[in-house]
Symmetry: C2
Amino acid sequence: MTPLLERGRALAMPVLRAAVEGLAAPMDSVASYHFGWIDAHGRPSAADGGKAVRPALALASTEAVGARPEAGIPGAVAVELVHNFSLLHDDLMDGDEQRRHRDTVWRVHGPAQAILVGDALFTLANEILLEPGTPETGRAARRMTAATRKLIDGQAQDMAYEHRERVTVAECLEMEGNKTGALLACATSIGAVLGGADEHTADALEAYGFHLGLAFQAVDDLLGVWGDPEATGKQTWSDLRQRKKSLPVVAALASGTGSADKLAELMAADSRKSQRESGDFDEAEFASRAALIEEAGGRDMTLEVAHDQHRKAVDALHGLDMPQTVRDQLVAFADFVVVRQR
Amino acid sequence: MTPLLERGRALAMPVLRAAVEGLAAPMDSVASYHFGWIDAHGRPSAADGGKAVRPALALASTEAVGARPEAGIPGAVAVELVHNFSLLHDDLMDGDEQRRHRDTVWRVHGPAQAILVGDALFTLANEILLEPGTPETGRAARRMTAATRKLIDGQAQDMAYEHRERVTVAECLEMEGNKTGALLACATSIGAVLGGADEHTADALEAYGFHLGLAFQAVDDLLGVWGDPEATGKQTWSDLRQRKKSLPVVAALASGTGSADKLAELMAADSRKSQRESGDFDEAEFASRAALIEEAGGRDMTLEVAHDQHRKAVDALHGLDMPQTVRDQLVAFADFVVVRQR
């Protein structure tokens, strides 16, 4: 874990935890399960509750404008709550049964609790952010709400693309920009807004986060096909098993190569079977699909997107006046995002 | 329909509709179906989209503080969006298949769209309310967020009480205060806040709305058992069919009378059957339960709550300086709520 992440976790997560534990029963328990603080039977647990990337970035953005990180805490907490609201609802909508190596909330506590507690986390995010009642909190809330709208648009696109045979690379990037870029963009600017940043500075930091988010997602898409299960904690070929139309797949299909045609044929045959049947393919079947994606250029293209977006993220910081230590941290974090193996 | 409701609909609903129709596809269509503007096949429709009570009250509250009603429109639209967000999610959580004589969204478009479009309406409410970026919008957003938190708490209580044999009258009233009172309280004050009301005035108008909400709910609970299906558009004994622990039922069970014991026995026997089986009871079975509730005093007690809350609502307006026409409208609306047959 980078120092940036450690610090974000140390400052923001206790505030987030106190707020979540203050929800009315049984929502407090359901949310605590989701965050990994208790197990399915209510016993204390220290499960993986995620990397808390967004709070860390929010606090760094506060320091980027010369304010004390404490000023950014409501934003850091709010944006992490919005992220987890979307996880609770998306897991249910997508029928995903596992997150962070544990059964998802809807599997353990039922769909109704997943819906309700998601709603409660989103509401809590707004409460925490608006509470101070300063002009800055209004600006921050407007940015967070705009990011949430994009998050929802991205989920709508993701669900629609699942049923379509062809998705263009541009559509895939737009969807990933909405689903991952928008909230990271909010994270990397909301703390600055609370710290008194002008709109130009907030926009530049937002651009850093947006491109960082697309780089992050491109690497995620690579790990979803070629990641080492020991490192990622996911199954081998996890995105292929789930038939995700992730960037490598979409880019491969759009390449116009012979490998693309073969891949398209296999996928069309798949869609005539149930997901359960095709989930039972053996390792060799997935390995040969991964090879086709690679031959069609899907891997190289996604790697190129990761590097291109990494460069754009770092470029967005140019011309912004900020303490050197903060700049170093933000650049180091962008580097970490691209080279990470999990 | 009262003039207050007509005016609210005329001013706020076109703005709400334009905003909803601006959602990304397919969320715009799903939401348009929910509001009754199109049918399940996407054809134009003029189905009942609800009485739009909340926008009407919001605009009246703007006028109560001497501002032009237009100033309250973002609040009127936002609060109606929050109401409909909660309907979309509650119908899915509760498994309700019908609303306003039509199949609910999750039945027509599936659970995932009901979740996503609910989220989109809640987000849109925040966007519209925060957009002007004035100090008043921040105050209004804080009040709306607090009301939404209560709405969610109320739904959590409602779901929990369903599985409990005994619920106290106080618990039932608290739940109804959260589920119905809080958002009506927000409706009757949010427009005033946007019109520049001080906190004292906003709080008094909020008290009017809170008690109005409890009176409204008590009458709803009466209509749910003894309502004329011709007028309500619901089935006879609809709340009994749905085994709702509504106020007349809870009050009857808590009465300590012989009728209460008989009712409790019948309900305990019910809970050993599936809902489908007990939904097939004949009219005589429901009629005899309704009679037991009435004998145990559940009907009188609920009527008393309705009148008591009506009086408290009207009392909350005393001492507030407002144009006489607005006061007359608010009092007339409270009267209408208590005497309505549907």
